[in-house]
């Protein structure tokens, strides 16, 4: 995304999605993206029309954070949930579902990409609508090579209008469950953190010094 001045809420949203769709390796030696593909293909089609995007985003995010909602600031979070809950143009909503379904399902060029990036940019849209998914709301993601020869897809939400997202004080936080279509938490198996070696004890040396000073006092050698 490369914004000059960090926008915390934008950074949190994009980063949690980037992590979820990354090629970082989980506790089972699988990439986080492949772990999500497995869940999508065997248990739950997260992006069919029975799912609301705000709810899916929330479930993906808390999987990554271990429970904390994203963005951290409530006001920003409500605005974001409100946008995803049916307030994007219909073509954008369908394009998001189409591109992510192609990435997570089998049998198309995007099925094999190693990772996915998410970003928002301010650009005029071809439709003239406030939002558009690059490229022209296409449901088919473009597969790109990165500098290291890995293939990836970029999900880019273009914003055309110069106003902030509206406040949404009455929005549900967390978003209401999608009901029976949900097949439990979305797995995100974090590898165990590497234990750091404890630093060498300094107290032993100090105590030797203290003892020797005391001993010196007693014997009068320190004078």
């Amino acid at each position: 995304m490369g914004g000059f001045i960090n926008s915390q809420a934008d950074a949190e949203i994009c980063e949690v999605l980037n992590k979820r769709f990354s090629d970082d390796v989980n506790a089972s030696g699988q990439t986080y993206l492949d772990e999500l593909r497995q869940f999508f293909q065997s248990k739950e089609n997260l992006f069919n029309n029975s799912h609301k995007l705000n709810r899916v985003f929330h479930r993906l995010a808390i999987g990554v954070t271990g429970g904390a909602s994203v963005p951290k600031t409530k006001k920003s979070r409500l605005r974001w949930f409100h946008l995803l809950k049916g307030n994007l143009p219909a073509a954008v909503d369908q394009a998001i579902r189409g591109q992510l379904t192609a990435i997570l399902s089998l049998g198309n060029p995007a099925s094999g990409v190693k990772y996915v990036t998410f970003s928002t940019v301010h650009q005029p849209t071809t439709t003239g609508d406030q939002f558009e998914l690059f490229d022209k709301n296409s449901p088919t993601p473009k597969v790109l090579p990165d500098a290291n020869g890995k293939s990836y897809c970029a999900i880019i939400l273009q914003c055309n209008i110069d106003t902030g997202l509206p406040d949404a004080a009455g929005e549900n936080d967390p978003p209401v469950s999608d009901g029976g279509v949900e097949k439990g938490p979305i797995p995100f198996a974090k590898p165990k953190p590497i234990k750091k070696k404890p630093p060498p004890k300094k107290s032993a040396k100090k105590s030797v010094k203290k003892v020797s000073k005391k001993a010196a006092k007693k014997t009068g050698k320190g004078k």
Binding site: M1, G2, G3, F4, I5, N6, S7, Q8, A9, D10, A11, E12, C14, E15, V16, N18, K19, V64, T65, V70, P71, S76, R79, W80, L83, Y115, T117, F118, S119, T120, V121, H122, Q123, F134, D135, K142, L144, D146, A147, Y152, A154, I156, C159, D162, G164, L165
Partner: protein
């Protein structure tokens, strides 16, 4: 950048009235000459106080938005540095942005901007980056925007990635600190 701050309508109007457009046109023309592989866009209709590097398909874009381009506290020096920094996201080597691994991290972009980027800009267009003036201008708008906790960091060293805190970033730029040489990504916000 759906949650970025914006410049007020009044400030936008006042800045547009001055000779700002001429300055911006000359500035971007210099950058187009120096870095012809990148697309430099001036998006004055967006009042967000920011600039951005991103790729749209094969096109590598540097966008300068109205809130920053017209900001009354920023002049040619800081705008030169900002655009160099954004170009650095596309052209710098080294550690990657956590948000988009196809872009360089903030620290690598900063270092590229004040070294290789500034040299090339001078060589190809004759435009000289005066870093001290640029940072003094930027300090007025970024400093107060830092979260209170981040303004007074206990961390004093610029070793490792410094991009998260403006105070460290500012110093790293003055001292021309090299970015970390790690492959992979530096900072995290989640």
């Amino acid at each position: 950048m759906l949650f970025s701050d914006r410049l007020s309508e009044q400030e936008m109007l006042e800045a547009k009235g001055a000779n700002r457009q001429v300055l911006l046109d000359i500035l971007l023309s210099d950058f187009r000459t120096a870095f012809p592989d990148l697309t430099f866009e001036l998006q004055l209709d967006f009042s967000i106080i920011n600039a951005q590097a991103f790729a749209l398909g094969d096109k590598r874009v540097v966008a300068l938005y109205g809130g920053l381009a017209l900001h009354p506290k920023l002049g040619a020096e800081s705008l030169t540095f900002i655009i160099l920094h954004e170009a650095g996201h596309h052209l710098a080597k080294g550690c990657r942005s956590k948000r988009d691994p196809s872009l360089a991290c903030e620290c690598a972009s900063d270092y590229w901007a004040i070294t290789a980027g500034a040299d090339k800009l001078l060589q190809k267009s004759g435009r000289h980056l005066r870093l001290r003036a640029a940072l003094e201008e930027l300090d007025q708008i970024i400093g107060p925007r830092q979260p209170r906790k981040a303004r007074y960091s206990k961390r004093a060293s610029t070793g490792g990635c410094w991009a998260e805190r403006w105070t460290l970033r500012n110093r790293a730029l003055f001292e021309r600190t090299r970015p970390p040489t790690i492959e992979g990504r530096c900072i995290t916000y989640v």
